[in-house]
């Protein structure tokens, strides 16, 4: 149990509050591995209190305006320090088709444990934390989201799918920041759904699943399925997706695909659920999410 003290933040560090992206990346270039950016702080400060991370430099992104906000310009571009609550409000109030089909991301945002966490936590922070149980990652994976990573001298864009490496580990280099998350314009006739199962409502998921379906008449034109808390990183269920494409949608098909997706994952047993339970639930919620998403395409 020792040594932790959640009553205070024992760990000592220097604090930097850059106001431009350039300053922020310069600080990262300077301090490298000994630095950690902080946005909402709801993951980082907890990890520091639990003695899991001990950065000598904490670089606040709160005052870097370039990282904030949501813009719709062909793609939907979300600044990394946009709060989950702002994103949720944007998704549930402002979007027209085809972006209205991003329902699952709205549902995932609302599934964040509490209102306070939703307000403090940021989308970029949630992704950079690289928790296998991230709620925001599965919907983004089904949208083929891409992330922009920026260092002082270089900028690169990669598919979110390649961003997650392991629990707590991403493709970010020590001098890079995640600046934006970009969701390409969704296809017409598409819809999505997100379902999360947890012990209690305000909790980390035992399993979560997001699906996105694109319809062509009664046929499934395209399909995406992604799950959380079932592998070291949030994952797509590619084989299950393939079996959907070109098929006529039916409840029986959804049932079959749910089971197929469950076979693809490799969950572990931990304090929140056993492997067997996760596997069972994955089939149920993938099926239910498929049914819900299909209904939404109508």
């Amino acid at each position: 149990m020792l040594p932790t003290n959640t009553h205070i933040l024992f760990h000592e560090f220097d604090y930097h509050a850059p106001t431009t992206l350039y300053e922020a990346t310069e600080l990262l270039a300077q301090y490298g591995d000994s630095a950690r950016p902080i946005a909402g702080g709801t993951d980082l400060l907890v990890q520091m209190k639990m003695e899991r991370r001990q950065p000598a430099h904490v670089i606040s992104l709160a005052r870097v305006n370039a990282l904030q906000g949501i813009a719709l310009n062909g793609d939907l571009t979300i600044g990394a320090t946009t709060s989950i609550r702002d994103l949720h409000q944007y998704l549930t109030s402002k979007l027209q088709p085809p972006f209205a089909s991003l329902q699952s991301l709205g549902e995932a945002c609302n599934g964040f444990s509490t209102i306070q966490i939703m307000r403090m936590a940021t989308l970029g922070g949630n992704l950079c934390n690289a928790s296998p149980a991230s709620d925001s990652a599965p919907p983004l994976l089904t949208f083929d989201a891409r992330v922009t990573l920026k260092s002082k001298t270089f900028e690169r864009v990669m598919a979110l799918e390649h961003f997650f490496i392991a629990p707590g580990k991403t493709a970010l280099q020590a001098d890079e920041l995640l600046t934006h998350i970009r969701i390409p314009r969704p296809p017409h006739q598409s819809a999505s759904a997100f379902i999360k199962i947890a012990r209690v409502a305000a909790d980390i998921s035992q399993v979560c699943a997001a699906v996105r379906l694109t319809r062509d008449g009664n046929l499934i034109h395209d399909a995406r399925i992604a799950l959380g808390s079932v592998a070291p990183t949030p994952v797509r269920a590619a084989a299950a997706e393939r079996e959907l494409i070109g098929q006529t949608f039916s409840a029986a098909l959804a049932e079959k695909i749910g089971k197929r997706a469950a076979q693809e994952i490799q969950p572990i047993s931990d304090i929140r659920a056993t492997r067997a339970y996760r596997q069972h639930i994955a089939a149920v919620i993938v099926r239910d999410a498929l049914l819900r998403a299909w209904e939404r395409t109508q």
Binding site: E12, V58, Q116
Partner: protein, 165 residues
């Protein structure tokens, strides 16, 4: 690790603090300002006991660095009553006995206040959704929901003095 001087507004008053980077907003409020109405519950954002308003939004002060509050506007439970008059949320909690031990009462009231700021006439479902991150181990929440719903009504009543009176 060096102290830094920051300026902020606390319950409507200007403040200057000198803080280390690792000082938490919660502890500065409690130990330097003697504002102990905001509580430590779990230290990791799971219970909501440390909830206050930062720039108008409900915030967990156990996961907020004080140093990050330069220029911020902070409202705690102690700043809610104005001119000796209880806020409608406080009045409703009082009238419904919507507390037992009272340790979560500050955070429940601050959350209810934040909800009413966003949504003046919430439904029971909306109240329950908004308070989902605030633990109460005594009441079972029912009286808190009654108080929150009644606070909305009370506030409406205060805003529109009835023609009859």
């Amino acid at each position: 690790m060096h102290k830094k001087t920051i300026h902020l507004t606390l319950n409507g008053e200007a403040r200057e603090w000198s803080v280390y980077p690792n000082e938490l907003l919660l502890n500065v409020l409690r130990e330097q300002e003697y504002l102990t109405g905001t509580k430590y519950g779990c230290g990791i954002g799971e219970c909501g006991a440390c909830t206050l308003h930062l720039d108008g939004a409900p915030t967990l002060s156990c996961l907020t660095l004080a140093i990050a509050c330069d220029g911020a506007d902070i409202l705690t439970i102690e700043g809610l009553a104005r001119d000796g008059k209880l806020d409608a949320t406080q009045q409703a909690f009082l009238e419904h006995s919507a507390f037992q031990c009272g340790f979560c009462t500050s955070d429940m009231i601050m959350m209810t206040r934040a909800l009413l700021n966003e949504n003046a006439q919430p439904s029971e479902a909306q109240v329950r959704d908004y308070l989902r991150g605030n633990l109460c181990r005594c009441t079972g929440y029912a009286s808190i929901v009654r108080a929150a719903l009644d606070a909305a009504a009370l506030e409406k009543q205060r805003a529109e003095p009835s023609a009859a009176s």
